[in-house]
């Protein structure tokens, strides 16, 4: 039931090298300063630090840290997820991590060879790419002649697709992140999950065999899997009964350890599922999902707006209410002025007048805007439809100038078929497309873009989509010679998310990989979800 890897899936390059490199760099760094040192570690850095060097390696070193000297510690995870300083939001004007991304790409291409194919979309993607190219030119010669191990690289700005980041997640890993907050690959499970009186910090990665099988699954499949596993475990233990001494000895020495391990993991994840279920039932998750799907589809907008209004009136959660408003705004090209005014007023009344500042932040970020008069959805739609049928250049430019700064989600969604048309039930047990990560309702836009560009090996045929995304200047393809690359490496794709990546997108792309025989490697400035996105925008920390 879990998706096994295809037998012909390409092998990953040796990423453990990155971990060793990071550790050695850290030691080198610390050893640069002579004498006894104290190590002051900011709380947020503890987790990433643990991933590369634990106490037996560090021992006691002393480090003086002045306020303005920040040692950015880069952490390399199994799938190359980067954990930079906290607050890596796409705050307007903040380009400070562009260099870090460029450096990362430079490091990767030095270690694993040049990338034969580069694609990208987004303002930051373009800047990071250009900076990276500069770095390569300055220190040229290192990568020439090396065999490429990774065939494609795709750079993508978060703000190309905010919709996906705003949706509730329903794949297991995404749900765990939404519910418990996964930080640097580990999560704190409280007593309600561990079924004892202490909390536990758990590392969630492929070494947790139970987790690895369910992480990308739709939540509805997870129960079935866990209960099957529990039954198997029971059966294994039951075998003890018929054993003689010799068999028992063998059992204890060979199998018991593994079973205990499995038992422990199983009980943790079952506890997590129970906890998730409890929370979701309390939040009336079903109703919430209905509303989200309606917004994605563009159906019954008035009812969805009323739902949001009531959500605010009942003071359910400031972050959730905000998230829903943003989803409405992006999918509908902004709220109609009457709704904007009324929802804003109600939000301030329910959650506090200081959120006036939050609304200002969201407006600047383009997440929660008001439709300009005369710019209702039908007006935009008719303009776009004109575009589709009328190829005259002049008319196209006119239509597009008015599309500036608009999200155009509906038009894009139609062009890229993001809302699957279902005849009968959407089978979540055997998913047939990437929409399964949102229960069959919606294919993540970012993943669809990647899929299409990889298929075409270019942006050909996607010009309209690119223009609707308002990224027309920054979609690029750079195909250098592929002759050195093996066919195996050409099936390896490095995806770089600038501004954050969600677990749902990771799951969706893994699915795509299994379908097409690719393997995806993920590099991101941060793993994000709707709550983190909203919190970064919220002026008042809830």
């Amino acid at each position: 039931m879990a998706f096994p890897h295809r037998p012909d899936a390409p092998e990953l390059p040796d990423f453990s090298m990155l971990k060793r490199l990071a550790r050695d760099q850290l030691i080198y760094l610390l050893e640069q300063l002579p004498g006894k040192k104290d190590l002051f570690i900011e709380a947020d850095l503890m987790s990433p630090l643990d991933r590369i060097a634990n106490v037996s390696i560090l021992k006691i070193v002393l480090l003086g840290q002045t306020p303005h000297q920040e040692y950015a510690i880069h952490c390399h995870f199994m799938h190359v997820r980067w954990c930079l300083r906290k607050r890596e939001s796409m705050e307007e004007g903040d380009q400070r991590w562009i260099n870090t991304v460029a450096q990362a790409l430079h490091l990767l291409s030095t270690l694993y060879g040049p990338f034969p194919n580069c694609y990208g979309i987004g303002r930051c993607a373009k800047m990071a790419y250009e900076l990276w190219r500069n770095l390569e030119e300055e220190e040229d010669g290192e990568t020439k002649g090396r065999r490429p191990e990774i065939g494609h690289i795709f750079l993508l700005d978060r703000d190309v697709d905010f919709v996906t980041a705003l949706c509730s997640q329903v794949v297991y890993e995404g749900l765990v992140d939404d519910t418990f907050r996964i930080k640097c690959g580990s999560v704190d499970f409280g007593p309600e999950v561990t079924s004892c009186d202490k909390s536990l910090k758990v590392l969630l990665n492929a070494e947790d065999k139970v987790f690895n099988e369910i992480r990308n699954e739709h939540f509805s499949n997870v129960f079935g899997f866990l209960s099957q596993k529990a039954r198997n475990l029971q059966a294994q233990y039951d075998r003890r009964r018929g054993m003689d001494i010799k068999q028992m000895k063998n059992f204890v020495s060979q199998e018991l350890k593994g079973l205990k391990q499995e038992h422990r993991l199983l009980s943790l994840h079952i506890g997590a599922c129970e906890s998730i279920m409890k929370k979701k039932t309390k939040q009336d998750f079903q109703e919430l999902i209905k509303t989200e799907h309606a917004l994605l589809e563009g159906f019954n907008i008035r009812e969805s707006t009323s739902y949001i209004e009531e959500h605010i009136d009942r003071q359910v959660s400031p972050i959730e209410s905000l998230r829903l408003m943003c989803l409405l705004s992006i999918t509908e090209n902004g709220l109609i002025p009457k709704d904007y005014r009324s929802l804003k007023t109600q939000y301030l009344q329910s959650y506090g007048p200081e959120h006036l500042l939050t609304f200002s932040n969201l407006r600047r970020a383009g997440l929660l805007t008001e439709q300009a008069p005369g710019d209702t959805l039908t007006a935009v739609e008719s303009k776009v439809s004109k575009l589709v049928t009328d190829k005259a250049a002049g008319k196209i430019t006119d239509a597009f100038s008015s599309l500036a700064k608009r999200s155009n989600f509906r038009a894009i969604s139609k062009k890229l078929n993001l809302i699957p048309r279902v005849d009968g039930e959407y089978d979540l047990k055997v998913p047939r497309d990437m929409a399964y990560v949102f229960s069959g309702a919606y294919v993540p836009l970012s993943c669809r873009i990647i899929e299409q560009v990889l298929e075409r090996r270019s942006w050909q045929g996607l010009d309209e989509v690119v223009r609707l995304l308002n990224c027309s200047d920054f979609a690029f393809t750079d195909m250098t010679k592929e002759d050195k690359a093996s066919s195996e490496s050409l099936r390896l794709i490095l995806v770089v998310f600038l501004g954050g990546c969600t677990f749902s997108e990771i799951s969706a792309l893994r699915f795509l990989g299994r379908e097409k025989g690719y393997r995806f490697i993920f590099l991101t400035t941060a793993v994000t979800n709707s709550a983190r996105l909203m919190e970064a925008m919220s002026e008042v920390k809830a």
Partner: protein, 467 residues
């Protein structure tokens, strides 16, 4: 285009009942949930056979939940011991002998430390000492922190703006003082911007901020959007409020000016001082709507201060029943309006419109919509089990907005609130809503007096149920 807008009512039903939503049902009778519960029971029953104590392979976790061997664990462990262990001191001594860059410790790993930092990917290749010291174009991964003396060998006074910017990006030593003329400085800034690295841009801006007059700096940045954005971001981060406001004033970005000034109120803790500050915000160049919100914020805090003082007095006097029965758990200061309304409906429900603390007064002053008002009042009165008040709220004409035929979100919530507060069954009966009564019946305890009452009502021939 616009096909979806034409769904019929029948399609609607189909839509809501389709599989996407069934995928996420949380009914207690659901097979999957009971399956989960069963698995949990099974797993827990296995605890008897599983002896956790002697297992070495499981990740060891301390009482505080930290994995043993992790940094946080060790910090907690060693917190008690002030002096380092003998072993630790020995190690430090050996480290101290490598006090300069000249001697790198001999590596034991397959990849030598220095060769790794030189970018050689072939394992086991060692560098000569002179290679390690020279500052040739050979690539280095080592973060450029401690400044080995060798680094200064190539220090020059002659770098162009683009070279300077490149050095800044690499974190190398670089003095910007030689860029004296305005033209030089602007060129430096332009180079930084074209490099896209925010850290470099900010570093240059810090230099410009120090060496240029405010007016010139502002004037030049006005036409350089990227640099301007970085400066604003930087000023916000370091909290240089004065310069930020001056900048907004110069750029005539009046609304941002007003918002930045307003933001300061979050740093004022004392309620009276905050109230005075908010007063200064009224009349600032906000948009028309925001001006109204600011005014409301001030008025709200003003009210809350009065209510808080008054109620604290009443509570300590000990004569008022409501405060005796339900002592206040928190102050009302700086709470949102809806919370204040809830509080007012809880503690001051019957007060006349004239008082500051009466709900009706709040409703009028802040123009609270009917729907919001009824919902909040209902929650407060239900919590107090004041069923007469609940009834009265139901029968006002304001309630009609809630009774929708399909997917009655509003009424569903009402039942929820009532159920949470164990409402009597009369309310449902009064509304002649048999469906809701049935739904409610499923939630009460079997064989209870409530259930009997419900059954009596359901079988009554006198009530003309509407559904």
């Amino acid at each position: 285009m616009g096909l979806r807008m034409n769904r019929t009512k029948g399609d609607e039903e189909e839509y809501w009942n389709s599989s996407k939503f069934k995928a996420f049902t949380f009914d207690d009778e659901d097979d999957e949930l009971s399956q989960l519960k069963e698995s949990k029971r099974a797993v827990n029953s296995l605890r008897d056979f599983v002896d956790d104590d002697d297992d070495d392979d499981l990740e060891r976790v301390s009482w505080s939940g930290e994995p043993v061997g992790s940094i946080s664990w060790s910090i907690k462990e060693t917190a008690g011991n002030s002096g380092s262990s003998h072993e630790g001191r020995e190690q430090l001594k050996s480290r101290n002998s490598f006090s300069s860059y000249a001697q790198l410790p001999k590596p034991t790993s397959t990849y030598s430390l220095s060769s790794f930092f030189r970018g050689r990917t072939r394992p086991g290749s060692f560098q000569s000492l002179s290679d390690a010291l020279s500052d040739t174009p050979a690539k280095s991964y080592a973060p450029e922190l401690g400044r080995p003396k060798g680094e200064y060998r190539d220090y020059s006074n002659d770098w162009s703006p683009s070279d300077t910017v490149r050095r800044l990006r690499k974190g190398k030593v670089c003095s910007l003082e030689r860029f004296r003329s305005l033209q030089d400085k602007l060129q430096l800034l332009e180079e930084a911007v074209s490099m896209h690295d925010g850290n470099v841009i900010t570093a240059v801006l810090i230099f410009l901020k120090r060496t240029l007059s405010k007016e010139i700096l502002f004037r030049e940045l006005e036409v350089r959007q990227v640099a301007l954005r970085h400066l604003i971001h930087f000023l916000k981060e370091i909290g240089d409020q004065k310069l930020l406001l001056d900048l907004f004033r110069f750029l005539d970005r009046t609304e941002e000016l007003a918002l930045s000034h307003y933001r300061e109120h979050l740093n004022i803790q004392d309620p009276d001082k905050r109230k005075e500050f908010l007063k200064t915000c009224i009349g600032l160049p906000f948009s028309a709507e925001d001006s109204a919100h600011i005014q409301d914020h001030y008025t709200l805090l003003e009210r809350q201060i009065i209510i808080e003082a008054n109620d604290r007095h009443l509570e300590s006097a000990g004569q008022t029943e409501i405060f005796r029965k339900h002592p206040r758990k928190a102050s009302i200061l700086n709470m949102p309006l809806v919370t204040t309304l809830f509080y007012s409906c809880f503690y001051h429900y019957t007060e006349a419109e004239g008082t500051f603390s009466s709900p009706v007064n709040l409703k009028k002053t802040f123009k609270i919509p009917d729907k919001q008002y009824v919902l909040t009042a209902l929650a407060a009165r239900a919590k107090l089990r004041a069923w007469n008040d609940v009834d009265a709220l139901f029968t006002t004409k304001n309630w009609l907005g809630y009774t929708k035929k399909r997917a009655p979100i509003g009424f569903h919530r009402v039942v929820e609130i009532l159920h949470k507060n164990n409402a009597p069954v009369q309310t449902c009966r009064d509304l002649k809503d048999r469906q809701q009564l049935l739904a409610y019946r499923s939630k009460v305890d079997k064989g209870s007096a409530e259930e009997e009452k419900i059954d009596a009502l359901l079988s009554s021939s006198q009530i003309r149920w509407k559904n």
